[in-house]
């Protein structure tokens, strides 16, 4: 970032067409991309199991169909026992998304309850709940999840959901507690308290509506955590291995040596699905972040004036001649060099004014 920035005299470069401001149009591009990508997977999860070409568990006895690569009949190939990978994938997307959504809802509800309760009860209960959420944040989740799931008598969707929700709330609780504490001291809360509103009503109708974006971001984060953790747990074998989720698909691919047999079509689709769902959620979350903090936005929010980029937070540019153009890498290297500063000094129109300014620091 240089101290002065050139402005071109060309008015066309300055004119930034006003953005459309609808709910969709106002979203940052990252949030849009995330929504679309996630939508594709949600659709696949809803429609997929209805249109699966085969029963995902059906083992085709024909030896020709064991570990068969992608073909017209089996678009994503078959497993070692002749099961159709595409059918498993569609079923798996549904099961994984279902689990993640339920965990997201339950754990987010828990974090709202704990966070708001800590902020409102104050004193000892606040200390206790905050300590508890900090402790569970610092403990590594996966070994604890493994221990809990290992001891549970049966394995499957419900126990996994219970355990993941039980350990998924601390981060959200911490964030929501902090936000509730600041909202609690605002005037409109004091006003509704003066009018005799009950505490639960203040919480439900004044506090929570003001935290919707925070809760939404927290939900997205929790879903991301649930997908990652459930897939990892299933990959270790801590899941109902007769059902098809993305994690159990990877478990079977790994335990039946798909990699060593060269059957990339067996482990790549479920893994890619996990990665892409995860990417869509990260994009969505970054988008929500950028909505709240315009500084974080990428090049799209940066006005390009006279070939130089201007951030919303930059000082107002000063008009003078544009510097010689540089390549990207050269420009990057140059911006760290001392010469970049000397050049700017040489270009300045009023050297007398600069001499007046004190210049401490390691200047030659």
């Amino acid at each position: 970032m240089t101290v002065t920035l050139p402005v071109s005299a060309d008015p066309a470069a300055l004119a930034d067409p006003p953005r459309n401001t609808g709910l969709w149009g106002g979203l940052p591009p990252k949030a849009k991309a995330g929504t679309v990508l996630l939508g594709v997977f949600v659709l696949a999860g809803i429609i997929g199991p209805l249109v699966t070409p085969y029963d995902p568990s059906y083992q085709n006895p024909s030896p020709a169909l064991s570990l068969h690569g992608p073909s017209a009949a089996h678009l994503l190939g078959t497993t070692q026992s002749g099961q159709d990978v595409l059918s498993q994938l569609l079923e798996g997307i549904r099961l994984t998304l279902e689990l993640a959504a339920v965990v997201g809802i339950v754990a987010t509800a828990l974090s709202v309850i704990v966070g708001v309760a800590a902020a409102f009860l104050g004193g000892f209960w606040d200390d206790l709940l905050s300590l508890l959420s900090n402790v569970f944040l610092v403990l590594p989740a996966l070994p604890l999840l493994i221990l809990l799931l290992g001891y549970l008598p049966q394995r499957g969707q419900t126990p996994t959901i219970l355990v993941l929700s039980a350990l998924g709330w601390p981060w959200g609780a911490r964030v929501i507690r902090a936000q509730t504490l600041t909202i609690r001291n605002r005037d409109f809360i004091a006003a509704s308290r003066e009018t005799g509103e009950r505490t639960w009503r203040i919480i439900a109708f004044e506090i929570i509506p003001n935290e919707v974006s925070l809760i939404a971001a927290n939900f997205v984060n929790t879903v991301l955590y649930a997908i990652g953790a459930s897939v990892a747990l299933a990959f270790i074998g801590l899941a109902d291995l007769s059902s098809w989720s993305l994690g159990t698909m990877l478990y079977w691919a790994q335990s039946q040596q798909a990699l060593q047999l060269g059957a990339w079509w067996w482990f790549a689709p479920p893994g890619l699905a996990v990665a892409l769902i995860g990417t869509s959620l990260v994009l969505l979350n970054t988008g929500i972040d950028e909505l709240g903090n315009p500084r974080l936005r990428d090049a799209s929010s940066v006005a390009k004036i006279g070939g130089r980029r201007l951030h919303p937070a930059d000082p107002t540019p000063v008009l003078h001649a544009a510097p010689p153009p540089r390549g990207r890498l050269a420009g990057l290297a140059h911006s760290f060099s001392r010469r970049s500063l000397l050049e700017e000094r040489g270009r300045r129109p009023a050297p007398a004014a600069r001499r007046a300014a004190p210049r401490p620091g390691g200047q030659p």
Binding site: L139, P153, I236, A299
Partner: protein, 328 residues
């Protein structure tokens, strides 16, 4: 209370919570579940069976307080009982064999990823709006990829399609572990791909976080003041902006460590790396509960210790925390 003492108390509480959870989880499962577990080991040696019973809280264990005390005593003496599947191996012996592998691999790869990610994040935050922001979605992909899936892909590419790296294991077969060059070289060669996996998947997270903090820090007045004084850019970037942006980054490092370690442990399974992850997989597949519990404790304590070290670094970097220390 000074910063470090407060943190120390907090970690002690966290350690106590982990210890207590570890003690009560098997006891909370109910009698039928416990009998179910015991029935999975019909031909266990009597002494191992007794140890398992004691761990699960059945048989004639005495009062719950007495059990708890003797459990704490065992843990403090690094005595995690006898392994039920690899009888008569002690759980602690198995742990001692595997911990150095994981600690070296995950520890060094995480530190490399953190340093690299932070440096790239400084660059990206400073050159905000440049080329970096265009590759951002790609980085988010790497952030969302499960560690073990990337491990599978890397193995497919570098060990099966192109035979550049070995297909897993910690060292070449036939070598005897010891402090000689052929073994150390082989171990380093075998750890390159796993380490690379950890670096690729976790570097994006550190980078994005540092970028975001940098962007916020650059907007601060003291950075503008540094620029207005005419300081060279590198000085403004590193000693004005980055040094202040580093504090939230370090605090985030402590919290994210648990996730990184968890991911790395699952990744070890793909590489058949002789670390704690593979041990954990074996424990899960063979219902080896003493081993599972010991691994949980060891991983937890290691993460807590690493957090404490991060706090020490924070005190070193942050003058405010140091002033708090000195005020005592």
């Amino acid at each position: 209370m000074p910063f470090l003492l407060r943190r120390l108390v907090f970690y002690l509480v966290a350690a106590w919570v982990a210890l207590t959870a570890n003690f009560f989880i098997p006891r909370a499962m109910g009698g039928s579940a416990i009998l179910d577990i015991l029935s999975k080991f019909p031909n266990l040696q009597p002494s191992a069976y007794k140890a398992l019973e004691a761990m699960l809280g059945v048989g004639h264990p005495g009062s719950i307080w007495h059990q708890y005390m003797s459990y704490l005593d065992d843990v403090f003496h690094f005595n995690f009982g006898t392994d039920v599947t690899e009888y008569p191996a002690k759980v602690s012996t198995l742990l001692v064999q595997t911990i150095p592998w994981t600690l070296t691999l995950v520890g060094s790869a995480t530190i490399i990823a953190f340093v690299l990610g932070t440096l790239l994040g400084i660059l990206a935050g400073w050159r905000h709006g440049g080329w970096f922001d265009r590759v951002l979605p790609g980085l988010m992909f790497f952030q969302a990829v499960p560690y073990f899936f990337l491990a599978l892909i890397l193995l497919e590419v570098f060990a099966i399609s192109v035979h550049v790296f070995p297909l897993g294991q910690g060292y070449a077969g036939g070598l005897i572990p010891g402090w000689h060059w052929s073994f150390i070289g082989s171990a380093i060669y075998h750890s390159l791909l796993p380490a690379f996996t950890i670096v690729i998947t976790s570097v994006a997270g550190w980078m994005l976080q540092m970028r975001n903090v940098m962007i916020t820090t650059i907007g601060e007045d003291y950075v503008l003041a540094g620029q207005a004084k005419g300081l060279p850019n590198h000085r403004v970037v590193f000693t004005y902006a980055a040094r202040n942006a580093l504090l939230p980054q370090l605090q985030g490092f402590g919290l994210a460590l648990g996730f990184v370690v968890s991911g790395a442990i699952v990744m070890e399974i793909v590489f058949s790396y002789p670390g704690i992850g593979l041990l954990l997989l074996n424990a899960v597949t063979s219902n080896d509960f003493p081993l599972m519990q010991a691994i949980f404790l060891v991983i937890t304590f290691t993460v807590l210790l690493a957090n404490l070290i991060v706090d020490l670094i924070i005190v070193f970097v942050d003058p405010r925390a140091r002033a708090q220390e000195a005020a005592r």
